[in-house]
Symmetry: C2
């Protein structure tokens, strides 16, 4: 594996043709936006370029990919992956390309190095790297391409609210806006709209939040019955783990998701409270402020055990 | 009234001393952040500078102002206002300065021209103008000042999600980060934390949203009893009007706030639906996507009238 710079990646793209671009499994805004921007920019340069038809792309991100999926009979000469960090993240049906990626563009410093060459930078989003490659390649981009870049950059940083946001993120977002990205429309689609099902769920979650230790611990319980009754999909439950710590005073936020064989637990913490410590007691782990574990038994049993574990950590 | 540029404003600040800085009535993040940044930058240059003690500054924004309020015996020579657009927006007790503002820094193009000189630009936030003035003045700023700028810029654009966000907003936010603004901490305080009361209210609102016209109209009713029962303050109800249109499919979002003498109505719309038309029928008005009016009678009577008015607009 060869590590290459943005300039080198741009030159390699100019020197080659007939590209197939891969997005990752359970695709998010960063992988689809990055791929959508790249395919558009390459076509504008007259390169035959297509996206691998990732069947898991959701309605929200489909507009950035639609119309660019590989056609019957297209034979790629070069394969590019965007935002894929390891072999386990190849898209469904795309496992056959695991050994043949020619260029990997990624921002996960943990990248396993599966590709022939890699353009890797420690940015908040893969879209920031793709943006710089396109600017190097073409000196500009059209409005639709800028929309894709903005989507990649903004979704991977929670609309610039997550801790991974840097000055570089703002630089790229600002340039995307200057190049025509339609912020009001995109922000409405990407951040300011929840499904009716999610609105119903939020209503339930906020009304039924359970508080302990003077409101320092907040618990949200999602039973299988509730999911069935409200018709909640995985998409609807995106980022629910962050609900409890979004409430003033809650420093240990627990989300208990009932499963057929026990409970999946997500822990989010604020300040000095260590989520990893709380989950380690149950054989789980993660980061200081975000961790997970699995607890056998009912939701009430799981809650009881967690109240005890959080109590120890709060002391 | 003389219109002056950023360069001229910086020069005027350098040429003078003993400043009193005014924030506006019902202060938001932009006015407090802008004032907090300016007072810090001026002091760093050795200028005696204080903030007018605006009694309405809430807990959320107090950290940016605390410690800088005018002391007993301070006699200002020059008065500066930030983010004040008209005489009616002077802070409580600060009406006495209406005729004596020497420099007005503002981003409302509707500014009534009450000051001796005005530094006015059509930016998303006043903080963007203050940032450029400070950079012109001092060539940099410390971390706390950058925190104030980030607060001003991010709050006035709903964390970069509102339609007023521009490339300039991102430029200033990015530079604030480079100068040390503590994004993770600030975003948590400014955007990712709601009071328990607001969490309770959101639970109520999402669980009790009323949908009409196949979910294209969403109605949220806030009675006086509910406010009393939940102990909701004005702060707790910040931006509630945007809740209904945040739900997929809702293109006419209505919030009905019961008052002793009738109902205060906020209308938000999406796409072609005109909020101004809906409110005009009741003697109110506003913009295409955000308008308001007052309807006499009970919340149920108001809702009935609004269902009819929205029906006409949806046709």
């Amino acid at each position: 594996m060869e590590k290459i710079s943005i300039k080198q990646a741009a030159k390699w793209l100019l020197d080659n043709d007939d590209f197939l671009i891969l997005t990752h499994k359970r695709p998010d805004g960063d992988t689809v936006g990055s791929a959508g921007a790249l395919v558009r920019a390459l076509r504008k340069l007259g390169k035959r370029s297509f996206l691998y038809e990732n069947s898991e792309i959701t309605d929200k991100y489909m507009p950035f990919a639609q119309g660019f999926f590989a056609e019957e009979g297209f034979e790629q000469k070069k394969i590019i992956s965007v935002d894929i960090a390891s072999l386990s993240q190849f898209p469904l049906g795309g496992e056959k390309y695991r050994e043949s990626v020619d260029l990997c563009i990624d921002h996960h410093m943990s990248n396993s190095g599966f590709a022939e060459r890699i353009c890797l930078y420690d940015t908040a989003s893969c879209g920031e790297i793709v943006f710089d490659i396109i600017m190097e390649l073409a000196g500009g981009m059209d409005k639709d391409t800028a929309d894709c870049i903005y989507t990649a950059v903004s979704t991977d940083t929670g609309c610039f609210a997550y801790a991974n946001t840097t000055a570089n993120t703002f630089r790229v977002a600002g340039q995307a806006v200057e190049l025509g990205a339609d912020l009001p429309r995109l922000n409405k689609i990407l951040f300011r709209t929840k499904t009716k099902r999610r609105a119903d769920f939020d209503g339930y979650a906020y009304s039924n939040m359970r508080y302990y230790y003077d409101g320092r611990m907040g618990v949200n319980i999602i039973t299988m019955d509730l999911r069935k009754e409200m018709g909640l999909t995985e998409d609807d439950l995106d980022d629910v783990a962050s609900i409890p710590t979004g409430i003033e005073g809650v420093v240990a936020g627990i989300t208990i998701k009932e499963q057929p064989d026990g409970c999946k637990i997500s822990v989010r913490t604020v300040g000095d409270v260590n989520a990893n410590n709380i989950c380690a007691a149950f054989g789980g782990g993660g980061h200081r402020q975000a961790a997970g574990c699995f607890i056998e038994g009912s939701v009430n049993e799981a809650e009881e055990k967690l109240i005890e574990a959080v109590g120890k950590e709060l002391r």
